[in-house]
C-alpha cells in the first residue's frame, strides 16, 4: 500500500507533499517516512495519508477558473502599492477622524 507523505517544516506552517512510502499500515508508514522524508530537511511534523483516500479533481475533469473572461476579479489596482500608498491611506484616515470629531462637536453644541 502506498502512503503519501506531507512534511511541515515549522510549527504552524503548511504540510507540503514531499513523496510517498510503501507500508502495510500507518505505524510502519510513519516509521519509514521519518527516515525517508524527515531526516535530511528540517522537519517539525509529517503526515502519512493512504493514497486511495486522497480524492482528486484535475484539469481533465474541470476547467479551473471557468471559461469566460473574469479578469475583473484580478485586483490589479493594488499591484503597484508601495510605502507612499500606506502614507496616503494614513493621511486619509486622519482626515476622516478629524471630520468625525468636528461633526461630534457641532452636534454636541447644537443640543445644549
Amino acid at each position: 500500500m502506498i502512503w503519501e507523505v506531507f512534511r511541515q517544516e515549522k510549527p504552524g506552517g503548511y504540510h507540503t507533499h514531499c513523496g510517498n512510502v510503501h507500508a502495510p499500515d500507518a505505524e510502519m508508514a510513519k516509521l519509514f517516512a521519518e527516515v525517508q522524508h524527515g531526516r535530511r530537511k528540517p522537519t517539525n511534523s509529517l503526515w502519512v495519508v493512504p493514497q486511495p483516500e486522497i480524492a482528486e479533481v484535475d484539469a481533465e475533469d474541470t476547467t479551473f477558473g471557468g471559461t469566460t473572461d473574469k479578469s475583473y476579479r484580478w485586483a490589479m489596482t493594488y499591484t503597484g502599492v508601495d510605502a507612499s500608498f500606506a502614507e496616503e491611506v494614513a493621511e486619509s484616515q486622519r482626515e476622516q477622524e478629524t471630520a468625525d470629531r468636528e461633526r461630534e462637536e457641532v452636534t454636541a453644541g447644537g443640543n445644549s
Binding site: 505505524e27 516509521l31 527516515v35 525517508q36
Partner: protein, 285 residues
C-alpha cells in the same frame, strides 16, 4: 554504591581508573561498530526499498555512536588506525550477537537481533546517564536520542512478522539461535575490571542488574507475541545458557575474523597507515 563522586578528565586518571574507563569504552564502541558492519550487508538486499533505507539509517546511527565512543578512547592517545584498522582482531570485546553473519534473505534475523540488542543498549545507556566519568556522561543523551527509533523499528517489525504462521516460525527459529548470544551482551570482559567500573561509578548499574532488567523487558514482550524464549522458567541464567563463544572476553567465532578481514581489506589494499578523517572531531561539533 559508588565511592567516587566524579572522576577527573582523561589526562588525570589513575592507571586503574583509566583501565576501567577504557574497558567500558571498548565494550560499547566495539558492539556498535561491528553491529553496524553487519547491518550494512543488508544494504540493497532488504525486502523493500523502505526497509532497506530504515536499516541502513540504523546502521549509520550505530556507526555514529561507535565514533563517539572511539573518540573518547582517542583522549588516551589512541589513534583511529590502532582502534580499528590495524587493531588485533583478537582484542575486540564485542558480544558474539553482533558478529554472527546473516543467512541470505533471512529478514527475521536483523529484526530479532536489533530488538535484543537495542533493548540492551537502551538499558546500558541509562546506566551511563549519571556516570562519574564526565566525558561519557556528556555524550549519552546524544546516543539515546537515536535509540528510540531503533527500538520502535524492531518492535513494530517483530509484531508484524510474528502475526503470520510462516513469520512466527521464522522469528522463533531466529530467536532460538540468537538468544544465547544476546545473553553475552551482559557478560564481563574481565570480572575484576567490571567490578571496578561499578565501584568507580563509571556505570551505575552492574552487568547482572542490567541483564535482569533486560530479561524483565524482553521476555514478557516476546511471550506476548506467542514466542517461546529459550530460558529457565525462573529467569536464572547459568553458564549452560551461554554460547560456546562469548565475544566479550575477546574469544570470537571464525565469522568475526572473516568480517575483520573484509572491513580492513581496502585499508591494507591501499597501503594506508592512518585513517582518513572526513568529519570534524565530535568535540568540535
Amino acid at each position: 554504591m559508588s565511592v567516587i563522586d566524579h572522576l577527573s578528565g582523561p589526562e588525570d586518571l589513575a592507571p586503574d581508573e583509566r583501565e576501567a574507563v577504557e574497558t567500558l569504552l571498548y565494550r560499547l564502541a566495539d558492539d556498535e561498530f561491528v553491529l553496524a558492519e553487519r547491518y550494512t550487508e543488508w544494504q540493497v538486499r532488504s525486502p523493500t526499498l523502505e526497509s532497506d533505507l530504515a536499516l541502513s539509517n540504523i546502521a549509520q546511527d550505530e556507526l555514529g555512536h561507535a565514533r563517539l565512543w572511539y573518540d573518547l578512547l582517542e583522549d588516551f592517545g589512541h589513534e583511529e588506525a590502532d582502534l580499528l584498522w590495524e587493531r588485533d582482531p583478537e582484542t575486540f570485546t564485542h558480544s558474539t550477537l553482533v558478529e554472527l553473519p546473516f543467512e541470505s534473505g533471512d529478514w527475521a534475523d536483523p529484526i530479532v537481533r536489533s530488538y535484543l540488542y537495542d533493548e540492551a543498549e537502551h538499558l546500558r545507556l541509562q546506566a551511563l546517564e549519571d556516570s562519574s566519568y564526565p566525558r561519557l556522561e556528556d555524550r549519552v543523551g546524544k546516543v539515546q536520542g537515536e535509540e528510540r527509533y531503533h527500538r520502535e523499528h524492531a518492535t513494530n517489525w517483530l509484531e508484524r512478522l510474528a502475526s503470520t504462521e510462516e513469520g512466527h516460525e521464522r522469528v522463533q527459529t531466529t530467536l532460538d539461535r540468537l538468544f544465547p548470544h544476546a545473553l553475552t551482551l551482559f557478560q564481563p570482559v574481565d570480572p575484576e575490571i567490571e567490578a571496578r567500573i561499578d565501584e568507580y561509578g563509571i556505570r551505575t548499574q552492574s552487568l547482572d542488574a542490567l541483564g535482569q532488567q533486560w530479561l524483565e523487558t524482553v521476555v514478557p514482550f516476546l511471550e506476548s507475541l506467542g514466542l517461546a524464549v529459550p530460558i529457565a522458567e525462573d529467569g536464572a541464567v547459568t553458564a549452560d545458557d551461554l554460547p560456546e563463544t562469548i565475544g566479550r572476553d575477546a574469544n570470537h567465532t571464525e565469522d568475526w575474523f572473516d568480517l575483520y578481514e573484509e572491513f580492513t581489506y581496502t585499508y591494507h589494499d591501499l597501503g594506508r597507515d592512518s585513517a582518513e578523517r572526513i568529519m570534524s572531531d565530535p568535540d568540535d561539533q
